[in-house]
């Protein structure tokens, strides 16, 4: 445990923010989805780092379980999201989210 916890956390934060940038700024729906995956990964890193450095003393596996669940959710979400994107693509022949602007008054 020579690497300080904060390093992991910083990397996770950086990863998260990069993913956030991807979500906020990319046009392509699949690109956005990839950004989301990055963010989830960052979260996982965070969780495991904390588990390893703080929680492990109690010998519960909470951190790992949490991370596994996150991965599960990420998978489900990716599947559904991509299915949606394909469905939209079939309808509109575009995956550009700027053209999907009906969510307004």
């Amino acid at each position: 445990m020579q690497v300080p916890l904060s390093w992991y956390l910083v990397v996770a934060a950086a990863l998260f923010c990069i993913g956030l940038y991807g979500v906020l700024s990319r046009r392509n729906a699949i690109g956005i989805l990839m950004g989301v995956e990055l963010m989830l990964n960052a979260v996982n890193v965070n969780l495991i780092a904390f588990w390893r450095y703080v929680e492990a003393v109690r010998a519960t596996m909470a951190g790992q379980v949490f991370a596994i669940i996150v991965i599960t959710v990420a998978a489900a979400e990716a599947a559904v999201g991509l299915a949606l994107i394909i469905a939209i693509y079939r309808n509109r022949h575009t995956v550009d989210v700027t053209e999907a602007d009906q969510l307004k008054l």
């Binding site: 999907a100 307004k104 008054l105």
Partner: protein
């Protein structure tokens, strides 16, 4: 049931007819029979109560030596500034006598009115119920006046009668005549009201001065010795004491109400009203209210030794008596002759008061009421009959109209005696009752008028011979006597003329030929009044005058000595002689050879004098020219000036200013500020809307960015805080 019990009910007397008025106006207006009975019951109850009280007052006066019922009962008082005005009623022998006469004569007239207003026939007057309401209100006014214990309520009831007089004279206000010189009821009622108003103003002035000087208007207090003393000794201006000023002013009111010269002009024209009105108001009650007023305030007149107020009264009275008599002989309208006769007789009464013959004046007042009412009602009956006869002959059927001549009957005047003649045969009951009245009026023994008129003449003579108690200059009474005697002569003459023209000879027109006798509701009052006219005088026979016994002691209580009218054979002889002479002339001219044509035999001999008399000395025209026209012109000028120079510019100015102001406001305020504000709001809203719309991009990434930024913001905020 003591006397006091009834005396305490005196205030009810005027309330019965007042209630009748209210009931008719509010409820029974449409039902004629009910209205008639309501009015009859109202006056009937007043009459019964009045006679009870009269009898009790007289009874007490005779047998109670101590105090005659000078019974003022304060009802309530109104606080007015520094003093309080007492309102109450009063019963004494003078009131008692008035209460004897007024409700009874009113009752007779009320009964007569039913037939006169054509109840039950096709020609029934359209405002029948209203008539009964008015005369009930009038009766309330007169009765209230008589039982008042202070000048204020007296004046109030005085004015009520003035109002009713206006309403009743102008009762047929829609009547118009073809002859433009003939006065219409509408004009006549206004004339009556305004002329009596002049008198009322003088009276009001007198009352105000009295109040200022003494602080009270109640009779009992005014006639106390201290107050009279004060009024007699304090001077208004120069050598003239307050008592004189006030008395003359109050007499001014009597001059107006009792149609004495120079305010006599309204009474003859008041004959435009229905005949019961003429009988009620202008013979029996209202005009005698003036005499009553002077009689009631008599202590004020005699307060000053040798004061001029009595002389003024006497002179005006005597002059009017003669003056009116001269005009009566040239009138062809039956009612106008009687009107002038009334003015003349009232002059007699005032003359009597002026020379101190208090008892004689009141006595004559009472008897005159009876026979004058009789005469008026009789004339009404005659006119009614002639009208019916006219329609009978004109239309050959029953086309009844309102009794007096009007436009619709093609100018046929049923009042004109020249259209009558020979009516004694056609209308015997009316005729004989009328003749009784005529005998009473002219003062033929033993009818009532003889006793009362003779007493006046006797007192005048005695005053001349023995001097009055009031220090009036010695020669005054002889003038009075002479004028009154001459007036009596004229009275007999024009009365005889009246009787012969109407009832003697042959009918001069078809109308008179067909005139029917009147219905019983009209003839019975005539008969009853005729009986009174015959026998009433006996109560005033000088040697056993009941009237004197009633009033004399009242006078004693008042502290004045009323002269007892001793029977003077010389005067009685003169009075009978004069009356007989008048009748003789009348018979010679009109009775011996009853007129066949409608030409008056005295017209030619008198010539221009006749014209002068017929036109009433042109006094009406004079008043119109000197008083009425200028006022009307002034009013028109003022109106025109006001309207065109004052009001129009103001109104236009206001209008223009308003327009200018609104335009300016529009430019300065409305457009920039309000429109600006409204438009501004719109613009801001639009801009804001557009601005806000930008947030609704529909793009999720935008929303997400916003969320992220918000979280970031909060994060940094927390960071900075800690």
């Amino acid at each position: 049931m003591t006397a006091n019990f009834f005396f305490n009910l005196t205030w009810l007397i005027p309330l019965f007819p007042l209630a009748a008025f209210a009931i008719i106006v509010l409820w029974t207006n449409r039902n004629r029979l009910l209205s008639t009975w309501v009015a009859w019951i109202g006056i009937g109850l007043a009459w019964i109560l009045s006679w009870i009280i009269f009898w009790l007052a007289g009874y007490h006066a005779k047998y109670l030596t101590a105090s005659v019922e000078n019974y003022p009962v304060p009802l309530f008082s109104t606080p007015t500034g520094s003093t309080e005005l007492q309102v109450g009623f009063q019963v004494d022998t003078l009131t008692g006598l008035m209460l004897f006469m007024v409700p009874f004569v009113c009752l007779m007239i009320f009964i007569y009115s039913k037939g006169y207003m054509n109840y039950g026939t096709q020609a029934v007057d359209s405002r029948y119920s209203r008539f009964f309401a008015y005369i009930s209100l009038f009766a309330c006014g007169m009765l209230g006046l008589v039982v008042s214990d202070n000048l204020l309520t007296l004046f109030i009831f005085w004015e009520v009668m003035g109002l009713c007089s206006y309403l009743l004279i102008g009762f047929w206000f829609e009547k118009k005549y073809t002859d433009p010189n003939r006065i219409t009821p509408k004009q006549a009622s206004l004339k009556a009201f305004l002329t009596t108003r002049v008198g009322d103003i003088l009276m009001l002035a007198g009352m105000l001065l009295l109040y200022i000087q003494t602080g009270t208007l109640t009779f009992k207090e005014i006639f106390s010795t201290e107050v009279l003393e004060q009024l007699a000794t304090t001077y208004a201006f120069g050598q003239v004491p307050w008592a004189t000023v006030i008395a003359i002013l109050i007499f001014g009111g009597a001059v107006g109400k009792s149609a004495q010269f120079p305010l006599h002009v309204w009474l003859p024209d008041a004959m435009e009203g229905p005949t019961p009105v003429s009988a009620l108001i202008h013979a029996a009650t209202m005009v005698s209210a003036g005499v009553y007023l002077v009689a009631r305030t008599f202590p004020l007149f005699v307060a000053v030794e040798g004061g001029t107020q009595l002389a003024v009264v006497a002179f005006i009275g005597a002059f009017t008596a003669l003056f009116a008599g001269t005009m009566a002989i040239a009138q062809n309208d039956i009612k106008r002759v009687l009107a002038y006769s009334t003015i003349s007789q009232l002059g007699f009464m005032f003359a009597a008061l002026g020379i101190g013959a208090y008892v004689a004046a009141v006595f004559h007042l009472i008897t005159h009421a009876f026979f004058k009412a009789l005469l008026f009602l009789g004339s009404g009956s005659v006119i009614h009959g002639v009208e019916h006869g006219h329609h009978h002959s004109e239309h050959g059927g029953h086309g009844h109209e309102s009794p007096e001549g009007d436009l619709r009957s093609g100018g046929f005047d049923a009042n004109d005696m020249m259209n009558m003649g020979g009516l004694l045969r056609r209308m015997p009951a009316t005729g004989w009752a009328f003749i009784v009245g005529a005998l009473a009026l002219t003062g033929i023994f033993p009818w009532a008028g003889f006793w009362s008129k003779d007493e006046i003449l006797a007192d005048a003579w005695n005053a001349f011979v023995h001097g009055t108690e009031y220090g009036v200059a010695k020669f005054w009474p002889i003038f009075v006597f002479a004028m009154l005697a001459l007036a009596a002569l004229l009275t007999a003459f024009y009365t005889a003329r009246l009787v012969f023209l109407t009832f003697a000879g042959r009918p001069r027109t078809e109308a008179a030929h067909h005139a029917p006798e009147s219905v019983p509701s009209m003839t019975w009052p005539l008969i009853i009044l005729a009986v009174f006219s015959t026998f009433l005088g006996l109560f005033g026979m000088p040697w056993a005058s009941r009237v004197y016994s009633l009033l004399g002691e009242y006078g004693t209580i008042m502290g004045e000595h009323i002269p007892h009218g001793e029977f003077n054979a010389l005067v009685a002889g003169i009075s009978l002689f004069v009356a007989g002479l008048g009748w003789l002339f009348g018979w010679l001219l009109y009775g011996r050879k009853p007129l066949v044509e409608a030409v008056d035999p005295i017209e030619k001999p008198l010539g221009p004098v006749y014209t002068l008399l017929k036109n009433r000395y042109y006094i009406d025209q004079l008043y119109h020219k000197v008083l009425v026209r200028p006022v009307i012109n002034l009013a028109s000028a003022a109106y025109a000036f006001d309207d065109r120079v004052v009001i129009d510019p103001i109104v236009d100015g206001v209008g223009r200013f308003g327009r200018w102001l609104s335009e300016w406001l529009k430019k300065a305020v409305d457009n920039p500020i309000i429109d600006g504000a409204v438009n501004g709001v719109g613009r801001v809203t639009t801009w804001f809307g557009e601005f806000m719309r930008a947030t609704q991009t529909g793009q999720i990434q935008n929303y997400l960015l916003v969320a992220v930024v918000t979280i970031l913001f909060l994060l940094i905020l927390f960071l900075v805080r800690t």
